[in-house]
């Protein structure tokens, strides 16, 4: 059965699941399931950079995806990067099965500020919608308010709204309605 599986990689605060499940239920016509979490894959740690290679997290998700899982979204609290880029808020297989979102750089504390739960909630939802959008074939949107716009720093994440623009939303609707057998 088509479902969106959510999975923790390492420790993830309980509240985050509520935010993510709500957002998923609002936007995607898919049942949302929780999978047992994985420990942080330590082989993905790049000691020189003090970060984890996101690609290893993606591989882990793809390998461990339950049979028939339609989408698998991993959530982690460690800092992610790829060899080329100094950091990532998240990564997705474009038009594919898996995606990962890191909470580390969404937290106010990362920028030397006191923690703010409301801010973390908003940013988490935006990043989840963004990476999931990529798995449904959406590319970056030129509308900076759209959740699919490219954010290369945290201020740009804050500029976005917690929703897809009309054009990206329409793409998703077409995508969901064209599924064979429905959901």
């Amino acid at each position: 059965m088509k479902a969106l599986y959510l999975v923790a990689i390492g420790n993830v605060p309980d509240k985050a699941w509520e935010w993510i499940e709500d957002a998923a239920a609002n936007w995607f016509p898919l049942p949302v399931r929780r999978m047992p979490g994985f420990p942080i894959p330590e082989h993905a740690f790049d000691a020189k950079r003090g970060q984890y290679q996101s690609v290893e997290f993606m591989k882990l998700l793809a390998q461990q995806a339950p049979r028939g899982a339609y989408r698998v979204l991993g959530i982690t609290d460690v800092d992610l990067a790829i060899p080329m880029l100094s950091f990532l808020f998240g990564q997705a297989q474009f038009d594919g099965q898996v995606a990962v979102v890191s909470l580390r750089r969404l937290r106010q504390e990362f920028y030397g500020l006191p923690p703010e739960e409301a801010v973390l909630r908003e940013r988490t939802v935006k990043e989840v919608l963004h990476e999931m959008g990529h798995t449904f074939g959406l590319v970056h949107c030129p509308d900076s308010k759209c959740v699919m716009s490219l954010a290369t720093h945290i201020e740009l994440v804050d500029t976005k709204e917690e929703q897809y623009c009309a054009r990206c939303g329409l793409h998703l609707v077409e995508r969901f309605t064209s599924w064979n057998g429905g959901v």
């Binding site: 080329m84 990564q91 290369t152």
Partner: protein, 451 residues
């Protein structure tokens, strides 16, 4: 749109290639990856990549610089971005010298790379738009866009083809409106300078000092208001062609300056002390008889001979009346399309009227007349009455509104008027008066008219 700009990532590390490709795909690009230089070159042979990211260090086989040079040989328009680690910045500078457009040190900020790609593609887009526009211009000024079945015009067109790829100066003579600029463009766009600039300067439209700074540019402080260095038309036309219209009207000083450019292909900007060297083909045009102007001392003889290497004399429209129907149909078609009016053509009676007209303003006048007729026309075809105002202008009322005067005075006035209209050209004035040249000379003597 982004799909039109494919990107190649060449890196021996699989994780590097794939993560980079995935990131760019999220941005909507079509991305291919290659795990070594050889494979990268093979991919570049098959696909016209806009950007190639190449890792500098690839052990075994081709390194980044070799791969870049080979890819640039296959795809000279591809922009290469060399990816390097901190330790090899010197080599990256070497890569830039070898033709890489940019280099990035990994890992880099997502914003940095996003802006880099956007900047390169913006430039590519402008370049490709420019190429399209140049092609369009080229098409617009190909020879067969000059409409004629007149044997003399056909000879002229053949000549423009022959001289198109030479650097020799061309002097185009012809009355206003005969298409001197069109012929100049045809020469430019048929030759090997076609993809370089074609710059038009109307010499009569500017004062001497303005024209001088227009042609040669100026340095900061050359005169009040010269706030910075400005390139002149000669520099802007470098590699291409400069078209100097109405060359017969330039001052003695500018004639001397121009002669120097023609002889040495170098000049000084106004207020400058450094010579500027240019490779520019000069095409000049005039409606004056420059040989005569030179004889009279009004135009430098040495400049005249320098300009007159290849002379093209365009006949006035009244000497190629067989082209009037062709040109008229062409203008009707084009102008009615432009104005969004549904006009199918011109009636025979109207055409006869056009053929009979003398067209002192030549093809340009014909074009204007047809545009005016199309604007006011309410039928699907241009009729005689659509040109009724033209008939009036052929024979201005006041020309016949002459009080009782001796017949001889009438003849004298007719001769003076004809000479004025023909700018003193006796041959043309006699043709217009319907008498031969010797008769006109006799009458000039008899009426003591100096011309």
């Amino acid at each position: 749109m982004k799909k039109n700009w494919p990107i190649l990532v060449v890196d021996d590390e699989d994780v590097m290639c794939e993560s980079m490709a995935a990131w760019l795909r999220e941005d909507g690009y079509r991305v291919d990856t290659a795990s070594n230089g050889q494979k990268g070159v093979e991919s570049a042979k098959a696909t016209d990549y806009a950007i190639c990211f190449i890792d500098l260090k690839m052990p075994g086989g081709m390194d980044g610089i070799e791969t870049m040079m080979e890819i640039r040989r296959v795809r000279p328009d591809a922009s290469v971005i060399i990816i390097t680690a901190y330790a090899t910045v010197d080599t990256a500078i070497q890569a830039m010298k070898e033709g890489a457009q940019e280099y990035i040190v990994k890992p880099c900020n997502p914003q940095e790379i996003s802006m880099l790609v956007a900047r390169i593609l913006k430039l590519k887009k402008l370049q490709s738009e420019n190429a399209v526009l140049r092609k369009k211009l080229n098409r617009q000024y190909r020879h067969h866009d000059i409409i004629t079945k007149n044997p003399r015009m056909e000879e002229i067109l053949a000549l423009t083809q022959e001289v198109a790829s030479l650097r020799s100066t061309v002097l185009i003579r012809g009355e206003s409106g005969t298409g001197k600029e069109l012929v100049a463009r045809a020469v430019h766009y048929s030759g090997n300078r076609a993809d370089k600039p074609f710059i038009v300067v109307s010499c009569a439209a500017l004062t001497e000092t303005l024209l001088e700074s227009e042609l040669f540019g100026y340095e900061k402080g050359a005169f009040t208001g010269a706030n910075g260095q400005v390139k002149g038309k000669f520099e802007l036309a470098n590699g291409g062609t400069i078209f100097l219209d109405e060359i017969g009207d330039i001052s003695a000083k500018l004639q001397a300056d121009l002669l120097r450019v023609l002889q040495e292909r170098r000049f000084y900007r106004v207020g400058g002390s450094q010579e500027v060297e240019v490779d520019v083909r000069i095409i000049a045009a005039t409606n004056k008889n420059l040989a005569e102007e030179a004889q009279q001392g009004r135009f430098r003889e040495d400049l005249y001979y320098r300009l007159n290497v290849i002379e093209i004399r365009l006949p006035p429209l009244r000497e190629r009346r067989e082209d009037i129907p062709l040109l008229a149909e062409h203008f009707v078609h084009r102008i009615s399309l432009e104005l969004g009016k549904d006009i199918s053509g011109i009636s025979n009676a109207a055409l006869k009227l056009l053929i009979a007209h003398d067209w002192p303003g030549n093809v340009r006048e014909l074009e204007n007349v047809i545009e005016r007729a199309i604007v006011t026309c309410h039928n699907g075809q241009l009729e005689e009455q659509d040109f009724s105002w033209l008939q009036k202008s052929v024979i201005p009322a006041q020309a016949w509104d002459i009080p009782d005067v001796p017949l001889g005075e009438l003849e004298r006035r007719a001769i003076v008027a004809a000479l004025e209209r023909k700018h003193g050209n006796v041959k043309e004035a006699s043709a217009a008066l319907g008498i031969d040249r010797s008769t006109l000379y006799d009458k000039l003597k008899r009426y003591e008219i100096s011309h």
